[in-house]
Amino acid sequence: MKLVIAIIQPDKLEEVKDELYRSEINLITVSEVLGHGRQKGVTEFYRGAKETGNLLRKIRLEIAVNDTFLEPAIKAIVTGAKTGETGDGKIFVLDMKECVRIRTEERGSTAIG
């Protein structure tokens, strides 16, 4: 079992979701985050003060997958999110120790799907 964490551009979310659904991956958690990689931020001005925090809006996806679905998930995210420009984002893959479906208390691979 793996946990896939993806950081993508906010305006790519709908395309990524469509690609995931197409690969039969329907369970997903989405949150708004701030961040940057090598992408430069925008300087903000508030009266006299210059704010150069550089953090930009991103979307974070968390998807739990069985091992067979790992590559399809990665491919779906890349297809939906890639533009070829800096700022496309990153995917992190973590080994997942356990997964529980709260409603039925199932565990393991059956709980993921």
Partner: protein
């Protein structure tokens, strides 16, 4: 008694009342999320506190005909302040209409100051400071400029709607308190940014709207002078909004909404003393230039001298008010208001000197007494919140309240 005048003054009173909540949103949007309720609460409580103080003794010390410096307590509890006109102030409206109109000015003036010490003042100390301030600073200065027998009024100082009484007064008190209370923690690492710019714009709109009552209502009659004040108020605000936006465009590369809004407010401040004495072309100059002066103070002078006037109460209200008062000495014309005077550009340089005197006296008096009051309150109860409380935010620590729920 004139029903048109009475109706207009009552409406103007309501318009000026709306400026205090408007100010609350103007300032509230500029602070961090964790402090927005403290701004709203301070403004709201001032509305409550001053409304009561004014009828108990505030109106009396400012407007009762005492001596040149102090009105006295003859009209405490509004004794002798009835529904018949009091001719020395306004012959065509009930005396209480004049009183309630003035109440709204007394309410918003202390509210202006809170921009200077935003995000770090204890609520209890705030109440004590404000009450002492309106009694010993606003009360007297108001009497000097507008009260019967007031010595600045006798000197011939022109202040149509409160450039000196309200804006210079509050603005320099803001500087005093900003210096006394000290800079917010971690200011260089953590540039505080406005948490809700839409609130700032909404607040500006309410202020602009209410200011028609502030300036045009000060004619105390539904007549040509009120119309003049209305027209120059709108024009100066507009010119100043454009001016600030363009200054930013040139200096920083882009015009910001905060800049345009700040400019409009600065323009409204500057035209306040002049509204019943100048015509529309001078109003444009007054508006165009105030943004330049305020911008310099807000961005250059503040950084250079490192005082943390958090929301630029000094930079906008004091600087704008000083320019407005001096500009009145330049552009005033008896053609606009025969009961006023001519300014320097109309052949009467004496008026300019009188304006300088009134400005100087107010600056010195308000700064000094505000500082004294601050020190007294500080020694009795401590004014500034502790470091941990400042970090957690005033909403939670001073009011046990959260402005925006996180989950539901």
């Amino acid at each position: 008694m004139n029903s048109g005048d009475t109706a207009w003054v009552l409406i103007s009173s309501a318009l000026v009342m709306l400026m205090t909540p408007g100010l609350a949103f103007f300032y509230g949007g500029m602070v961090r999320k964790k402090n927005v309720l403290s701004i709203l609460m301070q403004c709201f409580i001032v509305l409550c506190l001053l409304s009561v103080q004014w009828v108990l003794y505030g109106y009396s010390i400012s407007f009762a005909p005492g001596d040149g410096f102090w009105g006295g307590f003859k009209w405490a509890g509004l004794a002798g302040v009835g529904l018949e006109p009091y001719a020395d102030y306004s012959a065509t409206i009930p005396h209480q209409a004049f009183m309630i109109f003035q109440a709204m000015f007394a309410i918003i003036t202390p509210a202006l100051i809170l921009g200077a010490f935003a995000e770090r003042m204890k609520f209890s100390a705030f109440l004590a400071f404000i009450l002492l301030w309106v009694t010993f600073v606003y009360g007297p200065v108001c009497h000097w400029v507008w009260g019967m027998g007031g010595w600045l009024r006798k000197l011939g100082a022109l202040d149509f709607a409160g450039g000196t009484v309200v804006h210079i007064n509050a603005g320099i008190a803001a500087l005093a308190t900003a210096i006394a209370i000290g800079r917010r923690k971690n200011l260089d690492k953590n540039v505080p940014t406005p948490h809700n710019m839409p609130f700032v714009v909404l607040g500006t709109a309410l202020l602009w709207f209410g200011w028609f009552g502030f300036n045009a209502g000060s004619a105390l009659a539904a007549n040509g002078l009120a119309v003049n004040a209305f027209v120059v108020t709108n024009t100066a605000a507009a010119a100043a909004g454009l001016s600030w936006a363009f200054i930013e465009w040139i200096k920083n590369g882009k015009p910001t909404v905060l800049g345009a809004a700040s400019g409009a407010v600065a323009g409204l401040v500057a035209i306040t003393p002049a509204a019943g004495f100048v015509s529309v072309i001078p109003a444009i100059f007054i508006g165009l230039l105030v943004s330049l002066f305020c911008f310099i103070f807000v961005s250059r002078v503040k950084t250079k001298f490192a005082y943390d006037d958090s929301l630029d109460a000094f930079g906008v209200h004091c600087v704008g008010g000083v320019w407005g008062a001096l500009a009145t000495g330049l552009f005033a014309s008896k053609a606009v208001n025969p009961a006023g005077a001519d300014g320097l550009f109309f052949g009467n340089p004496q008026q300019f000197l009188v304006q300088i005197a009134a400005v100087a006296v107010t600056l010195v008096y308000s700064f000094a007494v505000s500082m004294v009051i601050y020190k007294i309150v500080d020694s009795v109860m401590g004014v500034r919140v502790g470091e941990k409380e400042e970090a957690m935010g005033l909403d939670l620590t001073q009011h046990h309240e959260r402005a925006y729920t996180i989950l539901e």
